[in-house]
Amino acid sequence: MTEACCHGITDEKYQKLDEVINQYKGKPGGLIPVLHQAQLIFGYLPKEVQIKVAEGLDIPLSEVYGVVTFYTFFSQKPRGKHTIGVCLGTACYVKGAAEIVEALENSLGIKVGDTTDNGEFSLMVTRCIGACGLAPVLTVGEDVYGRLSPDKIPEIIKHYEKM
């Protein structure tokens, strides 16, 4: 795990992390903003990054780990090139979000929380994204797709496969 997770983690990324840490060092409540930035830089929060953050901000690693595992936005696993998030808010749920999840699981051949073997897609379910008027909706990265039905799924996946 440790070895596999460190591919692609370059000195340049650690340099960026240092800059972020310096910016928040000594500032009360800086841990969560630093973790947000760190996840932007690395794509996820492996153990090495958490250690670096703990040392940099001078707080116990247990506290950093505690925060990382508490919030669903922080991921300790690398994610695919495209993260698909299906909204499971109430409006989406009553309009058939469960069928959308099923269609995605079938098309991608993975379960919610997993990443495809080729590293292209991760499938997640998300909390209400506030686009209830278009329910059911899903997001791919920052793009939002609304008024979905299961038959629209293959087309969406195809669009990102080429990117």
């Binding site: 969560i32 669903t72 109430t90 209400c128 994204i129 209830c132 008027g133 920052e142 939002v144």
Partner: protein, 597 residues
């Protein structure tokens, strides 16, 4: 400054963005240039206009013509027909759901006509990225007034007189909260805006932050002056990146204009704001958990008292209000408590924004006076239930609330009446359900949500909701027993009485409310192993109608379990033992021969 002969307001709210309004906007700008009209016609990207379902939408002034579902291909026609020749593009006009009658004017459409917009006054009307547009709408007037002519006590008195109550859910009188914070001893105090809008189905705070961020900034600065704080935080959830971006931009501009930061308006008062982005935890909407999260810790709540007003952020007195509450404040200062007090019911003053979603024709945001009935909201503003289905229930208050049914339709909605009806106002999410929604499944959905979001600190919530979820799942799978209902009610009562925070205490509400209103539906699942709404898969039986089946064999070829057999051109049959109820056959059958029981 340019004088334009027409203004085109294009909705840039989250819903319309997802429907592709950016492309429409770009096309409009290029086409106006091509027609050399860029100096005559002004295109404005606004916040959410409200009718998310009809997006991308736009309003063309001076006439106030409302166009819906506008595609980039329609833009040339709008310019050439409407803006040059003065003829409306009729095929893009709004149509009344029941009659199909076309209504060209924005303010004649029921959805807009029946609203009274105070918190949303600027949303959909101004460009949120241009501070001058906010100022032109009396923006920062209230702040100027307060800083130059009011004492902090006078500000608080206006709020107390207005009767404004917290719009985040609990409905606590805002003026009192400000007074407690002001009177709490301490030299360092904070003002926090709770923008962790986690209730699934509620998106009014998002809309205010994205469509009118300055109203929140102005109100927080007023609050800072009233309670004696010089630092504020806006805690926004990570799911709202556009809101964060617009807030950052607005804070920067307010600084440039001297309305935020040191020595505001030259009065000597200083106040600054910082944004904190959440990280995906529903419980952080609870105020003590939110404080922990801003402090950089796990967002776990703590018992109250002490209340944040006396011991809040880093132990200092802290005022926490919700986005919609703040958005009301500049208007109350400008127009006075007496004006505000006239709107609403005896105990609930002003308006409330509802997020209308689910099985309703016009989904989106509506702001109506307190005391408006559910029937008016769903059937007049919302245009009723689609596909001629029957109204079954409306869920208010999200995972902490309950459902309202047919008998509650004519009840004026305010804080007290909703509680009396077994639900609550909550943040204003209103999800409409029709006869195709199973209430047991909905209760299970909410429990799954609270179970998943339980922070785990206290046992009643951590373990209790898990047990409740297990029982509900069992019922939806047809394995329920009659004594389960009693057990559910018993668990619910003790969780309500003993959980640490509001989240846990209210988690059982959706279950209690559905058992009370839809006991028959629970009993059908338990006694007859039947789901009347045909939602709970384990209780459904797929069969093939021998009259409709043409024997094409498509169903058999798509059945993953080989549960369907038959000879070509003769009716096929399903082996119930093998059927896993995946629904493939139902989707594939070209003759509608698969029936569900």
């Amino acid at each position: 400054m340019n004088l334009y002969r027409a203004h085109v307001l294009i909705c840039g709210g989250a819903g319309c963005l997802s429907s592709g309004c950016k492309a429409v906007l770009d096309k409009f700008n290029t086409e106006l240039k091509a027609h050399n009209l860029q100096d005559e016609i002004n295109v404005v990207e606004t916040g959410c206009i409200g009718t998310c379902d009809l997006g991308p939408v736009m309003v063309v002034y001076p006439e106030g013509i409302f166009y819906q579902k506008v595609a980039p291909e329609d833009v040339t026609e709008i310019i050439e027909e409407h803006l040059i020749k003065g003829r409306y593009v009729t095929r893009l006009l709004y149509e009344r759901p029941a009659s199909g009658e076309q209504i060209p004017f924005y303010n004649e459409i029921n959805f807009f006509r029946k609203q009274q917009r105070i918190a949303l006054r600027n949303v959909g009307l101004i460009n949120p990225e241009v501070i001058e547009e906010y100022i032109a709408q009396d923006g920062y007037l209230a702040l100027g007034k307060v800083l130059s002519t009011y004492t902090p006590e006078q500000v608080i008195q206006v709020l107390k007189d207005s009767g404004l109550r917290g719009r985040g859910g609990a409905g606590f009188p805002t003026g009192l909260k400000w007074e407690f914070t002001k009177n709490a001893p301490g030299d360092q105090k904070y003002v926090i805006c709770n923008a962790d809008e986690g209730d699934p189905g509620a998106f009014m705070d998002r809309s205010v932050l994205e469509g009118d961020p300055h109203s929140v900034i102005e109100a927080m600065t007023i609050a800072g002056y009233a309670v004696g704080a010089n630092q504020g935080y806006i805690y926004v959830r990570a799911e709202y990146p556009l809101a964060v971006q617009r807030l950052e931009d607005a804070i920067k501009k307010a600084h440039e204009f001297g309305m935020l930061g040191e020595n505001i308006f030259g009065t000597g008062f200083s106040f600054d704001l910082e944004i904190r982005v959440g990280a995906g935890a529903f419980v952080c909407g609870e105020e003590t958990a939110l404080l922990a999260s801003i402090e950089g810790k796990r967002g776990e709540p703590r018992p109250k008292p002490p209340f944040p007003a006396s011991q809040g952020l880093w132990g200092k007195p802290t005022l926490i209000n919700n986005v919609e509450t703040f958005a009301n404040i500049p208007v109350i200062i400008n127009r006075g408590a007496d004006w505000f007090k006239q709107i609403g019911t005896e105990k609930s003053k002003g308006t409330k924004v509802f997020a209308l979603a689910g099985k309703v024709n016009n989904t989106g945001l509506v702001e109506v006076p307190m005391g408006t009935t559910l029937r008016e909201v769903i059937f007049e503003l919302g245009g009723g239930i689609p596909n001629h289905k029957r109204f079954k229930a409306a869920q208010t208050g999200g995972p902490s609330g309950g459902c309202l049914t047919e008998k509650d339709l004519d009840q004026p909605m305010d804080y007290e009446s909703l509680v009396a009806a077994g639900s609550m106002m909550g943040s204003g999410g209103l999800i409409v359900m029709d006869e195709d929604n199973c209430m047991v499944d909905v209760a299970r959905f909410f429990l799954e949500f609270t179970q998943d979001e339980s922070c785990g600190k206290c046992t009643p919530c951590r373990v209790g909701t898990k047990r409740m979820l297990e029982i509900l799942t069992k019922i939806t799978q047809g394995k329920g027993e009659e004594k389960d209902l009693e057990l559910l009610e018993e668990l619910a009562t003790s969780i309500k009485a003993t959980a640490l925070c509001g989240l846990g205490q209210s988690a059982p509400n959706p279950v209690l409310s559905t058992i009370r209103n839809f006991r028959d539906e629970y009993l059908a699942h338990i006694r007859e192993k039947r789901c009347p709404a045909k939602v709970c898969r384990a209780l459904l039986q797929y069969s093939i109608s021998s009259e409709l089946c043409k024997g094409c064999g498509l169903c058999a070829r798509n059945c993953p379990e080989n549960a369907i057999s038959g000879e070509p051109k003769k009716p096929y049959t399903i082996d119930q033992e093998k059927c896993i109820k995946c629904g493939n056959c139902l989707d594939k059958c070209p003759f509608n021969a698969i029936t569900l029981k």
